[in-house]
């Protein structure tokens, strides 16, 4: 079977990967499952159990795709419950519980001491063993009590983190559940609860209901005030468009941003490209911004993907390169749009793309500027992806059919010559992001490249601007769907470490957990994630497919630079990697304590419905 993973395969991460990897899994099934009506038993007066026991099914369903369908079914049913809970509509919420429901009452769990967190935040854990057992009405009332300290609940989410279902005509199952509650207390301080539990579920009357709830942990986090206040509206930056997929809003991997002082007034301005148009926000110095893209010559109706400011002509002000999606057609002609170089003229920008030689067609996303060949002029590296949706990557983690990345060498006068292949950096593994730094401290600038469908590259500069990929020997291959990268000093030892943002998803992790468990039970493959380390992540062989799969869904990576050179993966216990479908990752010192913190933009596509496909 020919496998052509593309956008849709990443959307349904769980399904194609085993196929891609040639695992013997029967995915194409035509199953008829009779959903009988469950007998409704018990009533409110039914005696409560002394302990909450939820047995795993004795004869579990093993068809993985069917299990995943049922998991999603339960997850989507719980999405509706979240909305009901948020409205404090507890009578309505009864419809989600069976009449003989019993569970640990959330508010009855005794809270322990407040644990101090960085920035003065506080975390309070409750003892799950202390929770009382309640019937349906009391359990919901206790849920309400838990929420009563909120002045507003901004969001409640129920996520299915694992599930097993029984065979048979009455669908029942055991679900591992994460409940997250976000909001603000009455005093307006930010407040959240994260609750882990196991629930018994049963499908009755055409809808999934909870029959048991067993509390595993309950943690409250709070702070007196937010660290970051949303001032978008006050600053005049509000820009609202429709739901993704509606009204032509389908630029799911565009939407860049760059900051520089375009007018030399000492304040940081902001350029914000997207597929429909771009914005140049001039900082007025009073808290507001003026949108001046048209007056400054940046009103290009084609917008742009990524962008970067640098002084291309060495005249002391920042010029601007805007990335675009362009391609070469089979007959040699061009489609799409080229990147553009705009020269800063002090009070407006002038398009000098053609004269500068920066007019190649690339599927350009991230741009990284630095003087790579040491001639005293800033060069430009272009991460060139491919036309996703039109071209499919030939492999999930070893695709070479992206369009090659480009290196534009500045000739010293603001004109550029493309030399990516000659210089050894024309990587074609669907590059999404790159960052420059001197990682071997030999005086020249090296380049780390995050590839979506291939291992990442660490291009080491020979001092003349010729590069060799040494990611494997330096321990930073980071197999996985790389989306973003940045250098920063995570351990305050004076050396630059590396952060890589990757793609992972709840559904993918759920599937992989189950897959690896099954493979381990079969004695095939290794169920542990790769240790990483200075030896690097080995290329996937048959034995390591399990660990590779796990790595693909593991989340972000942090690599600590070692005194003798090279990197080692920071163990996951050190935190900082648990994002989901991660994109831009940036270092900042949010609380000015001298240690670098990390912010990660997160999430793939939020549609009109909270339900996943």
């Amino acid at each position: 079977m020919e496998v052509r993973p593309g956008l849709i395969e990443r959307i349904v991460l769980n399904r194609p990967m085993p196929v891609t990897l040639g695992l013997a899994l029967a995915l194409a099934l035509a199953l008829g499952l009779a959903f009988g009506l469950a007998a409704c038993g018990g009533d409110d007066a039914a005696p409560l159990p002394l302990v909450i026991e939820i047995d795993a099914p004795a004869e579990p369903l093993t068809q993985m795709d069917l299990v995943e369908d049922l998991s999603e079914d339960v997850a989507n049913r719980l999405v509706e419950l979240a909305a009901v809970v948020r409205r404090h509509a507890w009578e309505e919420a009864r419809g989600w519980l069976t009449d003989d429901f019993a569970g640990h009452a959330l508010a009855s769990a005794v809270e322990g001491a407040s644990e101090p967190m960085p920035t003065g935040a506080r975390r309070i854990s409750a003892d799950p063993g202390s929770a009382a057992i309640a019937g349906p009405a009391d359990w919901l009332a206790s849920f309400g009590e838990l929420l009563s300290i909120y002045g507003v609940v901004d969001d409640v989410s129920f996520k299915v983190k694992g599930a097993e279902f029984a065979r048979g005509v009455t669908p029942t199952g055991k679900v591992k559940l994460k409940v997250s509650i976000f909001g603000r207390g009455s005093d307006r301080g930010p407040l959240s609860h994260v609750i882990w539990g196991h629930v018994g579920v049963t499908r009755a009357g055409g809808a999934w209901r909870l029959s048991r709830f067993g509390l595993d942990s309950l943690v409250r986090t709070e702070r007196d005030r937010v660290l970051l206040a949303d001032v978008t509206g006050l600053a005049g930056l509000e820009h609202v468009t429709g739901i993704f997929g509606k009204g032509g809003e389908a630029d799911f991997d565009w939407n860049g941003a760059a900051s520089h002082d375009v007018d030399g007034d000492g304040l940081w301005d902001l350029f914000v490209p997207s597929s429909k148009r771009s914005f140049l926000y001039r900082n007025r110095g009073d808290g507001g911004f003026d949108e001046v893209s048209a007056a400054w010559g940046l009103g290009d109706e084609h917008g742009g993907t990524g962008c970067v400011f640098f002084d291309a002509d060495a005249d002391g002000d920042p010029d601007l390169v805007v990335g675009h999606v362009g391609w070469v057609l089979p007959d040699g002609s061009f489609g799409g749009q080229p990147m553009r170089l705009y020269r800063n003229d002090g009070d407006r920008f002038t398009d000098v793309t053609e004269a500068s030689g920066l007019s190649g067609r690339h599927v350009a996303f991230s741009l990284a500027a630095a003087d790579f060949d040491g001639n005293g002029a800033t060069d430009l590296y272009v991460c060139s992806y491919n036309r996703e949706g039109r071209i499919s990557p030939e492999s999930w983690f070893d695709a070479g059919n992206g369009t090659p990345n480009a290196l534009y060498l500045n000739q010293g006068d603001g004109t550029f010559v493309e030399a990516g292949a000659e210089r050894g950096v024309a990587d074609a593994r669907w590059g999404y992001a790159a960052a420059a730094a001197d990682i071997d401290e030999d005086g020249d600038l090296d380049l780390y490249l995050a590839n979506d469908y291939g291992d990442n590259a660490l291009f080491v500069n020979d001092g003349q601007g010729f590069f060799t990929d040494r990611a494997a020997e330096l321990g930073v291959l980071d197999t996985g769907n790389g989306m973003g990268t940045a250098f920063g000093d995570v351990d305050t030892d004076g050396r630059l470490d590396l952060y890589v943002a990757n793609m992972s998803s709840t559904a993918g992790n759920r599937i992989l957990d189950r897959l690896l468990r099954e493979r381990a039970a079969d004695g095939g493959g290794d169920a542990e994630p790769p240790a990483g380390g200075s030896g690097g992540d080995d290329a996937p062989g048959p034995v390591q497919i399990g660990s590779t799969l796990k790595k693909l869904a593991a989340g972000n990576s942090i690599f600590r630079s070692l005194p003798g050179g090279g990197f080692e993966r920071v163990p996951s216990e050190m935190g900082g990697i648990g994002a989901a479908w991660a994109w831009s990752s940036v270092f900042l010192d949010i609380d000015l304590d001298g240690a670098q913190d990390v912010f990660v933009a997160n999430g793939f596509i939020s549609g009109e419905s909270v339900a996943d496909t």
Binding site: L27, D230, G287, F309
Partner: protein, 348 residues
């Protein structure tokens, strides 16, 4: 239900259709993350309480000190819905009484910072890739000047070093080309331009400016707006008009029976009602099936002020009930002008 193979065109079309036409999500509503370093290299997930954990789909993220107050602000570009988000870092913000979640006494001295801008002379003027190190108290923090990093993002070319409570630090730069240059000791609060080869920092002027607080989330009006006759509901849901203009002040308080903070302010509101020509009008936002419970609660508490229930018209014009934090009180002048907004229980 017949199923298709994962790689088939029909399968792709089905799932594309679900997202692009039917509005489904995939890995949607995943909140942006803030991992705070505890100083040892261990990261603590404080996303939930950071104020910038937007569930929209983030792409670019840019760090810049937009108000030049010394702490780093953040801009995030989302794929859909509210596309542009500007977050003001509250670390160095003076304590104010009106911020929504931005209030609170710190009582501690503010952490120090050093801001660094760079200019290359031997190499390219941008000095991209230069590494600045700040040493203080035996620790050395390194930052690189990146022109492009993250994903399709470029943060402002200015490095901000936190000093915590330390009064000063030693600055050095490794310029592109490998030359290491010391710039000596700088004090907390310094804003310096480091020019390659100069050996001494050149201060640059501050452009700090004060910013007002954003209005409360979920409130569809702001100070100075006028509320006259508004439609409200009674306990049965029947709507009628209520006149918010009067001879004196009206305290219009939004509350719910489930809300601990709302119950806490009831006695205070009851005392304020009728004092100095002032009246209190409570608007209960409970779901309809809880209205009787709310009315009974007021009766039990012996509350004397007027209570009405939220009808659709108020939701249209005054509050987004899903986003407004409770309790929130609008202090209206005699003509119905919003003169003050009290966030949280009154009387504190």
């Amino acid at each position: 239900m017949a199923r298709q193979q994962a790689g088939s065109a029909a399968y792709q079309d089905e799932h594309f259709g679900k997202i692009f036409e039917d509005g489904f999500s995939f890995s949607g509503f995943e909140r942006d993350k803030l991992f705070v370093n505890d100083g040892t290299g261990r990261f603590v997930d404080l996303s939930d309480v950071c104020g910038a954990d937007d569930p929209n789909d983030g792409r670019a993220a840019v760090v810049f000190d937009v108000d030049d107050d010394g702490d780093q602000d953040l801009f995030v570009h989302n794929v859909a819905r509210a596309r542009h988000r500007l977050y003001r870092n509250e670390t160095l913000r003076p304590v104010s009484g009106s911020g929504d979640g931005a209030t609170g006494a710190t009582g501690e001295s503010s952490p120090g910072f050093v801001k660094v801008r760079l200019r290359g002379t031997a190499g390219a003027p941008d000095a991209a890739g230069a590494v600045v190190r700040l040493a203080s108290d035996g620790r050395v923090a390194a930052q690189v000047l990146a022109l492009g990093s993250g994903f399709i993002s470029q943060s402002a070319p200015e490095l901000v070093f936190g000093l915590g409570a330390r009064p000063a630090g030693e600055l050095s730069v490794t310029w592109p080309g490998g030359v290491v240059e010391s710039f000596g000791r700088v004090q907390a609060g310094a804003r310096v331009l480091l020019v390659e080869g100069r050996g001494a920092p050149a201060p640059f002027p501050s452009r700090t400016f004060a910013l007002r607080d954003p209005p409360p989330a979920g409130l569809k009006l702001d100070l100075g707006d006028v509320l006259g006759r508004v439609p409200v509901a009674d306990v049965t849901g029947t709507e009628s008009e209520f006149d918010l203009t009067s001879d004196g002040e009206t305290w219009l308080t939004f509350w719910a029976s489930w809300c601990v903070g709302c119950r806490a302010e009831m006695d205070e509101l009851d005392q304020l009602d009728g004092e100095a020509g002032r009246r209190v009008v409570a608007v209960c936002v409970d779901v309809p099936e809880d209205r009787e419970k709310a009315a009974a609660m007021l009766e039990d508490r012996g509350v004397g002020y007027t209570n009405v229930f939220l009808g659709p018209a108020l939701i249209e014009t005054v509050v987004d009930v899903d986003r407004l934090a409770l309790p929130t009180t609008l202090v209206l002048g005699a003509d119905g002008t919003v003169q003050r907004i009290v966030r949280g229980p009154v009387g504190r």
